[in-house]
Each structure stands twice: as structure tokens, then as C-alpha cells.
């Protein structure tokens, strides 16, 4: 297939995944910010949301205050934020339009329909209830797009490149949350009466839609190190780093087998997968969680660049 087609498919998936991620961050932040101060509310959660889902420097250049209104605008609707939900849907649809022929009708209708509907939402005039419905709608867009890809695409390189885009983006998103919130996940933050942080932890789980999953996996109350374990190392958890790398390795291998050639991206992905499966969460804490995450983000970006170099240009 054309390199450009693969590139468009890859970014199409990345941006639909990103729209979903930003919607989850906003949703979870709204809940957290609504809590009374004694439960951890009223701290500036909105700044954390921007740090996780956008670019704080860019935000501060555009707005004078960090509050619900400005963050909502920046993350959901702003044309100046490349990762805003509106922009992500726009870019996804542009990519889809460029490779209309490589998509199934269902995929095209999911993304084109979303793009058409998006014009009907007016961010500035939304009350909280309407905004919550908007976020729900965004999550449904990603669900129906991803679902139609899964249900209708031929299992060939076109499909594999959509999976690669999704997995790289997801790994990056999960790592961003960990990067912003790692301090509340460290074991030493569990102080006497540490329930103050309980809502921070559950917020993180909500952001990756894993609150219920947590209980099924660990069968105990929410502990910060187990949250970290779930998000980084648990292979059953769809948004964990370990699971994303399983996906990446599998689909890169499929591509390599089909084309009869392996390259740097296969090597980088396998190396990271080996690292994740050979590690325990205690080891990560011992060596420094922040360092681990920073290193992961940079390796993940390297893999993205390697995939681009090897297949997309």
C-alpha cells in the first residue's frame, strides 16, 4: 500500500483515540473539581487536566486564568490547541477523507458523521449538563469508529496500521497521566488518613476507564501502588503500557511477516515489551517512577518516529 495511505490511517486512529482521551480527562476532572474541599476538591485540578491532555505553555499563552471555562474551551473546542477534541475530530476526518478508498463505508460514516455533527455543538453556550452530554457523545464517536474498524476492515496492512496508531497514542496518553499524577501514586504518599488522595486515585482510574477493572483485578480497596501497577504493568488492562506494547509488537510483527522484512521499529517495540514484562512495580518505585515515565515517553516517541521512517514516508 501507499506510504501516504498508511500514514493517513495511522494518524486517523491516533486522533480519534486522542479525542476520546481528552474527553475522559475532562469528564474525570469535572467530577474531581466538584468535590468538597475536605475530599480533595477545589485544588486546581484544571491545571492538571491541561498538563495531561494538552500543552500548559501554549495554554498560558492563550488564557490569563486557569479555570473550568478556559480549560473546557482549550481542551474541547479551541482551534488553537492541536489536541482539542474539535481539532482532533477535524484532523481525523481530514485524514479519513484523504484515504476514503482505504476505509470501509462504516468507518467513513462514523468519522464523517461525527464531523458533521460537531458543527452543531456550540461550546461557549453549553451548561455543565450539555457539556457532559457532549463528552459522552465524543466517547461514542471513538467507540463507533473503533468498533467499525474492528468489525469491518480486512485483516491486512491497512488494519494493522490503524492498530499501530491506536496503540502508540494510547501508550502516550496513559504515560501522560502518569507523568502528571505520579506523585500521588508513590507509596510514601499513603499517610495516616490518606483518604484525601483516594479521589485522586479513582480519578486516574476513571480517566482510563478502569475503576471497575481495578476491583476485578486486585479485589481490594484502591491503593496507589496498585493503581500504578494496573496502568503500567497489567497486561489485561487495555490502556496499560504493557498491553499497548503487546499490541504494538503483535501488529508490527504482522506487518514484518507480510512484507518479509524486519526493521528498527520491530526491535524497539520488542525491547520495550521485554522491559515491561521483566519488571515489578516495586522495582519501578525503587529506581524512580518519574525517571521511568520520562524515559518511557521518550522511547515511545522514538518508536513512533521509527514507524514513520520505516513505513510512512
Amino acid at each position: 500500500m501507499l506510504s501516504r495511505t498508511a500514514d493517513n490511517l495511522y494518524w486517523l486512529s491516533r486522533y480519534t483515540e486522542r479525542a476520546d482521551f481528552v474527553a475522559r480527562i475532562l469528564d474525570a476532572t469535572m467530577r474531581l473539581a466538584a468535590l468538597p474541599a475536605s475530599y480533595g476538591g477545589e485544588r486546581n485540578e484544571w491545571e492538571g487536566a491541561v498538563a495531561a491532555a494538552g500543552n500548559l505553555d501554549e495554554f498560558k499563552r492563550l488564557y490569563s486564568a486557569v479555570n473550568e471555562d478556559t480549560v473546557r474551551d482549550f481542551l474541547a473546542f479551541s482551534p488553537n490547541n492541536p489536541s482539542s477534541i474539535a481539532n482532533a475530530i477535524e484532523v481525523a476526518r481530514e485524514n479519513a477523507r484523504a484515504v476514503r478508498t482505504a476505509l470501509t463505508t462504516e468507518m467513513w460514516e462514523a468519522i464523517n458523521g461525527a464531523w458533521l455533527e460537531l458543527k452543531g455543538f456550540n461550546g461557549a453556550e453549553m451548561n455543565r449538563e450539555e457539556f457532559a452530554r457532549f463528552l459522552e457523545w465524543v466517547k461514542n464517536v471513538s467507540l463507533s469508529f473503533d468498533g467499525s474498524a474492528y468489525r469491518t476492515m480486512l485483516r491486512n496492512d491497512a488494519y494493522w496500521f490503524t492498530r499501530l496508531g491506536l496503540a502508540i497514542e494510547r501508550a502516550d496518553n496513559t504515560a501522560r497521566i502518569l507523568d502528571v499524577k505520579y506523585h500521588v501514586l508513590l507509596p510514601q504518599t499513603e499517610r495516616v488518613g490518606g483518604s484525601l488522595d483516594y479521589f485522586q486515585w479513582t480519578t486516574i482510574l476513571r480517566e482510563v476507564s478502569a475503576l471497575t477493572a481495578y476491583h476485578w483485578v486486585y479485589r481490594q480497596s484502591v491503593k496507589p501502588w496498585l493503581v500504578a501497577d494496573l496502568l503500567i504493568l497489567n497486561r489485561q488492562m487495555p490502556r496499560s503500557l504493557a498491553n499497548c506494547y503487546e499490541l504494538l509488537v503483535r501488529h508490527l510483527d504482522l506487518v514484518a511477516d507480510a512484507y518479509g522484512r524486519r526493521g528498527p521499529s520491530q526491535r524497539l517495540a520488542s525491547a520495550m515489551q521485554a522491559r515491561l514484562s521483566g519488571t515489578k512495580i516495586d522495582g519501578i518505585f525503587a529506581l524512580g517512577m518519574h525517571e521511568f515515565i520520562t524515559d518511557f515517553v521518550s522511547e515511545n516517541n522514538k518508536l513512533g518516529a521509527a514507524i514513520a521512517e520505516q513505513y510512512l514516508v
Binding site: 500500500m1 501507499l2 506510504s3 501516504r4 495511505t5 498508511a6 481530514e94 477523507r97 484523504a98 484515504v99 476514503r100 478508498t101 463505508t105 467513513w108 460514516e109 464523517n112 458523521g113 458533521l116 496492512d157 496500521f161 506487518v255 512484507y259 513505513y311 510512512l312 514516508v313
Partner: protein, 478 residues
């Protein structure tokens, strides 16, 4: 306006009591009269929704309001009988055969210039005459693989060719999608009529393209469709056709030439390309040869083409046939190259480069339609009867300044078809663009084509960029 137009449903000039009906339209007329109005309203909004969902849009240059909009679709089909179509088909084949022979001659022996069939300066000074093509015949000698010949009707028996589109004619996706929508919305109507199918067009196009692969290609040649990209007004059509053909939709940056061979960049490395169905103009094909400022082209593509290692469809240099001054010589060209009388005639045309014609045109400007010889898409034309005094004066000045640049035609009473408008069903002027495919083996035409309709009352301009709409075109089989 001259005399009243021929209405294809009633068979009578407009304005007269519309009681009669031509037999081809009998069932349709009854359908229009018996179905309740809200039935049509629902169907029209369903059709619109369908077009929006599939993303069939058209960008209008210079319109900042919306980069993508729908071409209005009218749900009342336009009907042609089998004998009418057979006449058109014969005429179209003859005309396209002549066009191909004409181009082969212009870039070869130039007999038609020596014989005085066309004036030499009209050829040599034409911006679309490409010296690069001299003595360089394209694979299998075919120049115009895909032609869109615009045909208008003026009465029961007379069809005229309005213009020849031999560069990169567009609109065929509308022909196919209009039929698709109609079959979904009105299965009952199709059961009542025997409508010749058009859905085999992509198959015929692919056969045509594969038949003209260069001799250096393998038995399974690689065909691609070259688009200027998704910001082009016809991008939907490009992607639609690539999909139906099952070929890659490439942009210039996806291609490169090496040692006079063209390749595309794929995830598995370079892959050789044999036939390029290009939907970009000559000027933007190869910055080394044509426009150095163009970022659209593929450096080295022209050299590979001249070396005979790749086929371009259509060939470089076919634009000269779109020239409206050359058009005026088409009847003579048809006679010269086929030895037959033209089956389809030209609209009577004054070629302003001829002195007598110019003074006639200047005298009668308010009655005439004046077109730029190199214009297209309905831009830069004057419709005399609808023009203001100022527009008339301005065109008179232009004509005197550059008579070679213009032709003039009488304001034809294009035939009308019943069409849904705000006030109900009313006659509106239509034209027809059939698509003629020429391969190394044969000429293929699917029955019908794209009917364009001028939605404004009395308007004769059917171009989609000027507010025209489209209709499904039915050729009744028997």
C-alpha cells in the same frame, strides 16, 4: 430568448398548454401527478442526507463560506429513448475517433494543416499545443482515453455538440451516485421502466486503462489515479473512482521517476507504475518541463512518458481539442479524418478571429452567448440576453482587443425537463455529458451520462460552479 424551448416531457414548446406527453415520459408524468407532495419532500431530503453521509461534495473556487458543498440533485430523471441514444452513441464514437486521429496528426504528419482544414496559427499559437509531444506518439496511439462530450438538445430530432472535453472531464461520479440514490429511493419506478444500467462504467474504464499500458509493462499492469489532493474541487470523484477501480489514489509526492521509470512509494518500498489516470492538468505534471513553480508535479515524469515507459491518460497536449476556436473547425475535422458527414453537429458558431464573424458578433451581442476559447466551467462567459449594458460594453471592448480569444453562438433554446423547484414542478433547461472511453481495443460508452440542469428559472448555465444541479439520466432499453 428567441423561440420557446422544447420540453422533453410534453414535447411542446414551453408556455403552451402542457397537456400532451411524449411516450418515453408517460409513466413518469403519471407518477408526478399521482404521488402526494409530501412523498416527494421526504424522498428529496432522504437523497440529500444520503449524499451528505457519503461525502459527495464539490468545492467551489472563490467561495469562502464553505469549502465543501453538495451539488443540488433533482429526483426527476431525464429520459432518452433507445433510438435517440443510438444516434448519440454513433455520433459520439465518430467524434472521438476523429479527435484521436486529429491529435495524432497534429503531433505527427500535420496533414490537416497542410490540407488547410485548420489554420496553422490556431495550432502553433495555442497554449495547449505541446511541442514536447511532437513525434512522440503515446502508447497504442490513443490520446483521448476519456472524453466528456457536452451535448444539448433543441427539438425532437436535433442534438448539438456544445463542447468537447478532452483534458480531464469530470462528473462521472455523479452519474453513478445519482443512479445509486434513485434505485434506493424509487425501486417501483425502475420496475416500470427498463433503464439501461450504468454501473459497469468503472469496469469499462479499468479495461480501457489496462488496454493502453506501455509495451514495457507486465501482463498485469499497475494502474494509478493521480489527484492534485484533497483540496481539489473534484477530490471526491477522484477517490470514488479509485475505489471503484480498485487502484491506488496517488498524489504527486507519492510518485517519483528514476531512470525514466515511474514508481510509487509504498510501505513495501518502490513499486513500478505503468498507467497513470491523471486528474491534473498538463501544467502540473512535471515541474522540470512545464511549470517550475508547481509543487504538484513529479520531476522526470515527462521524460519517462517520452521514453514510452508509462502511459498518461489522457495524453499530454489534448487540451487543444477543448479550445473553443478549434471546436468551430470540428465538422471539417470529422469529415477529413473519418471521410463521413458528422452525425452530431456543432452549434452554429462564429469564430471571432475571422473578420466578418467579428463584426456580425459585435452587431448582435445582446442576442448571443460569447465564450473565451480557453475558458471552462462557465467562468468568463457572456449570456447576451441576460447581460447588463455595462457587461455588454465590457465584452465588446474585450472582443475588439482580442478577437482570437473568443467565439460566439446564438442563445440556444436548450431543451427543458420537469424539475423540482420551490414552487413545485417546473421545466428547467438541461444538457448532457456522456463519457466516451477509448482503449487500444475499442470505444466504450455506458448508456446515458451526466444530465446537468440550470435550476434558476430561464437560466441556461448548467455548470455546478454556477448553481446548476444534476439529474439521473435514463436510457430506456426498448
Amino acid at each position: 430568448m428567441g423561440r420557446a424551448a422544447f420540453d422533453e416531457m410534453t414535447g411542446r414548446p414551453n408556455g403552451q398548454a402542457a397537456e400532451g406527453v411524449r411516450s418515453a415520459y408517460a409513466a413518469l408524468k403519471e407518477w408526478l401527478e399521482t404521488c402526494p407532495p409530501d412523498f416527494f419532500d421526504t424522498r428529496r431530503s432522504q437523497a440529500e442526507l444520503f449524499f451528505r453521509r457519503i461525502g459527495i461534495t464539490f468545492a467551489v473556487y472563490g467561495d469562502n463560506q464553505s469549502t465543501e458543498r453538495l451539488i443540488p440533485f433533482d429526483i426527476i430523471p431525464r429520459v432518452l429513448t433507445k433510438p435517440e441514444w443510438e444516434l448519440l452513441e454513433r455520433g459520439l464514437k465518430q467524434r472521438v475517433t476523429a479527435l484521436n486521429a486529429f491529435l495524432g496528426d497534429l503531433y505527427g504528419a500535420q496533414e490537416c494543416i497542410k490540407a488547410g482544414v485548420v489554420p496553422a496559427d490556431l495550432v502553433y499559437r495555442n497554449p495547449h499545443y505541446r511541442l514536447e509531444m511532437l513525434g512522440c506518439p503515446p502508447p497504442h496511439g490513443v490520446y483521448v482515453h476519456i472524453a466528456g462530450i457536452d451535448v444539448v438538445r433543441v427539438d425532437e430530432d436535433t442534438f448539438y455538440v456544445l463542447e468537447d472535453n478532452a483534458r480531464t472531464p469530470s462528473g462521472v461520479s455523479y452519474m453513478l451516485e445519482n443512479r445509486e440514490v434513485m434505485m434506493r429511493l424509487f425501486p417501483e419506478l425502475f420496475a416500470q421502466h427498463r433503464v439501461a444500467p450504468v454501473e459497469n462504467y468503472p469496469d469499462a474504464l479499468l479495461k480501457t486503462l489496462r488496454s493502453v499500458a506501455p509495451l514495457t509493462a507486465t501482463r498485469d499492469p499497475t494502474v494509478v489515479l493521480l489527484t492534485p489532493g484533497r483540496f481539489n474541487s473534484a477530490f471526491y470523484e477522484h477517490s470514488f473512482l479509485a475505489d471503484k477501480l480498485g487502484v491506488e489514489l496517488v498524489e504527486a509526492s507519492d510518485l517519483f521517476a528514476k531512470d525514466d521509470v515511474v514508481f510509487m512509494r509504498t510501505t513495501e518500498g518502490p513499486k513500478r507504475v505503468d498507467v497513470i489516470y491523471r486528474r491534473i492538468d498538463d501544467d502540473f505534471i512535471d515541474p522540470l518541463v512545464f511549470r517550475p513553480d508547481s509543487v504538484l508535479g513529479v520531476p522526470g515524469l515527462m521524460a519517462a512518458y517520452q521514453a514510452g515507459n508509462v502511459t498518461l491518460a489522457n495524453a499530454v497536449g489534448t487540451g487543444i481539442c477543448d479550445d473553443k476556436a478549434v471546436y468551430t473547425y470540428m465538422p471539417a475535422i470529422v469529415r477529413f479524418f473519418t471521410g463521413e458527414e458528422p452525425i452530431l453537429n456543432n452549434v452554429p458558431t462564429w469564430c471571432c478571429r475571422e473578420k466578418e464573424a467579428l463584426s456580425y458578433v459585435l452587431d448582435r451581442l445582446p442576442e448571443l452567448v460569447v465564450k473565451e476559447v480557453n475558458g471552462s466551467g462557465g467562468y468568463g462567459m457572456l449570456v447576451g440576453p441576460h447581460a447588463t449594458k455595462r457587461e455588454l460594453d465590457e465584452f465588446a471592448r474585450k472582443l475588439k482587443h482580442d478577437p482570437d480569444g473568443f467565439i460566439a453562438q446564438p442563445t440556444l433554446s436548450l431543451s427543458t425537463c420537469p424539475t423540482f423547484v420551490a414552487s413545485g414542478v417546473a421545466p428547467r433547461h438541461v444538457d448532457l455529458r456522456p463519457f466516451v472511453l477509448t482503449g487500444a481495443d475499442e470505444i466504450r460508452i455506458v448508456p446515458g451520462g451526466l444530465t446537468r440542469v440550470a435550476l434558476k428559472e430561464g437560466s441556461l448555465v448548467v455548470n455546478s460552479s454556477q448553481g446548476g444541479g444534476t439529474k439521473d439520466t435514463w436510457v430506456l432499453d426498448g
